[in-house]
Symmetry: C2
Subunit: 320 residues, 2 copies
DNA sequence: CTGAAAGCGCTTACAG
DNA sequence: CTGAAAGCGCTTACAG
């Protein structure tokens, strides 16, 4: 038994002959080690928890893919948790993952505060925040900072003469949500064209909210002439609302989105968007965690986002 | 110890007073049961393996989401495996999942044959096939049959006078790949307009292959006038190729896709597609597995797919 | 109803 | 280098 274990694992002190005999037996019996028993004894499960708000969002999906690849290369499996932007669901998942003794957690929290996560980190559970994070928690964050790109976007929109800019913002209880909103607001204010009352709408990063808020914007007495959606799902919903209302982009309204998505270049006009280095983010998070698990320190990683100018912003009535 | 265990679990024979004391202690110590130890003893992990070809494909992603919801409601967690259409990766994942003692497997296999999966099922591992399956294995399948819808699509295309139909098919080593191809071929042959030599291209269900094969089609001496892509990712690639080549849809070429995706209605023209009941498929699979795990039998579920006619098919030169 | 004991399948000091 | 033994943290017959 002990010899088999040694053969299967660190292979140090086992004689070649014995090793061969064990290997042959393992083969012929098609013996499959029980990872549960191993985990109980060794106190590690080689599995990580990945808690994200929405598997249906290509942004997270692409990130998850990168996380999984990097994790797999390092011998880790992933248990997924889809929180649906719901702190309650998040709490449940976290609890289950902890009971299952995951070695570490990659989480993109639903809110910018979380006593639960604070407690976990304090108790020494290895956690890496991905994209979103909880303030004041001593855990590394991997994300991209979109402020510069948002500022460029404001400049870009204004270069076409727009003065009525609006934003479909993500929840302000979320770091990226608030950051994008502030960058947009600041960008406009700095150019002495502050965003008007009623031109700030809050969605929840999901499609429906983009659809609804765009409708509200369209129903205003003075609708905006340029709209920025703070993520790709809300952009999808907003675009649907625009199409349904027969509003032409960019002749009637300029439009841009945070997050770049493959089909943005296929629609007519193609959508100007701010692209995050999605895969890099996922990979960085997954590479960081094993170090943390091993008791090392890890530095936060902040990458830049980039404005990708396409055809959805222009002059009012232009390009007709 | 035993009493705590009883209190935390099936709660039968524990007196109310003791139960309260235990509960209080659990609370005040914030005791968290170790699921690994529980699994070792109880021989079940309450976790399922979900093995799919591509997390980046919205079809699988939406399905995964449904699987996860249904699994969660039943107290199961999910370990994800992304095979990338690679049988080798699939084999590795399966092995890891088995070592981790998952209670059951939901798999969408990369190929239509798999000695490994055959072995597992024979050994009594609960397996449900989702979307794709391996022939001759005694395991339930949850999928949708697109043959009728493909036939309708052929009819629809021909109603505009097209005689040069082409298909960007999925791998024929895959059941849905082959099924869609055969339905397309039969539909055309039955209408006495057999698909010509060179109008059948094989992709691998991924974007790049759609892009490449569409380019090949375009470079033919006599390019087809109507093209059907056998899944949404290849459709995305094909549409990119069309756009790059300046081919107008449907004036220059009619186009349709298997799988419906949210942005299909946003592009100009909106894309005619065959929609599968994706969430229902995922849910059905996740509901079925616990029964199998419990030793019950489960019946395969075959749902219908539906042709959604939009604007991407029409007469040559029409609608200009 | 409750506690003591065995055992799930491994890993890893500890002897030899 | 190899084997016997303890122990990881639970669950569940078995007594009482």
């Amino acid at each position: 038994m002990a010899t088999v274990s040694r053969t299967l694992n660190r292979s140090d002190r086992v004689s070649p002959e014995v090793r061969d005999r064990v290997t042959a037996a393992v083969e012929s019996l098609s013996y499959r080690p029980n990872a549960v028993a191993r985990s109980l004894k060794s106190r590690n499960t080689r599995t990580l928890g990945l808690v994200i708000p929405n598997v249906t969002n290509p942004f997270f999906t692409q990130m998850a893919r990168a996380v999984e690849d990097a994790a797999r290369e390092r011998g880790y499996s992933l248990i997924f948790g889809n929180t649906d932007e719901d702190p309650g669901k998040e709490a449940e998942y976290l609890e289950v993952l902890l009971e299952k003794q995951v070695d570490g957690l990659i989480v993109s929290p639903a809110r910018a505060t979380s006593p639960q996560l604070e407690g976990l980190v304090r108790d020494g559970v290895p956690v890496v925040f991905l994209d979103r994070y909880v303030r004041d928690i001593e855990a590394p964050v991997v994300r991209s900072d979109g402020r510069r790109a948002v500022d460029e976007l404001v400049e870009h929109m204004m270069s076409f003469g727009h003065e009525k800019l609006a934003i479909i913002s993500g929840p302000s209880e979320t770091v990226p949500g608030r950051e994008r909103l502030e960058a947009f607001l600041n960008g406009a204010a700095n150019r002495t064209v502050p965003i008007g009352e009623g031109y700030v709408k809050f969605g929840d990063f999901r499609r429906e909210s983009g659809f609804e808020t765009m409708r509200e914007l369209l129903n205003l007495e003075e609708p905006p002439t340029a709209v920025f959606a703070a993520n790709n799902l809300m952009a999808l919903g907003a675009l649907q609302a625009l199409k349904r209302a027969g509003v032409r982009v960019p002749e009637d309204m300029s439009f841009a989105s945070f997050d770049d998505v493959s089909w943005f270049e296929l629609v007519e006009p193609s959508i100007t968007a701010i692209a995050q280095p999605v895969s890099e983010l996922g990979t960085a998070a997954a590479e960081m965690l094993p170090a943390l698990v091993g008791g090392e320190e890890a530095e936060s990683v902040i990458l830049d986002a980039e404005l990708v100018v396409r055809g959805s912003c222009g002059e009012i009535g232009g390009r007709v």
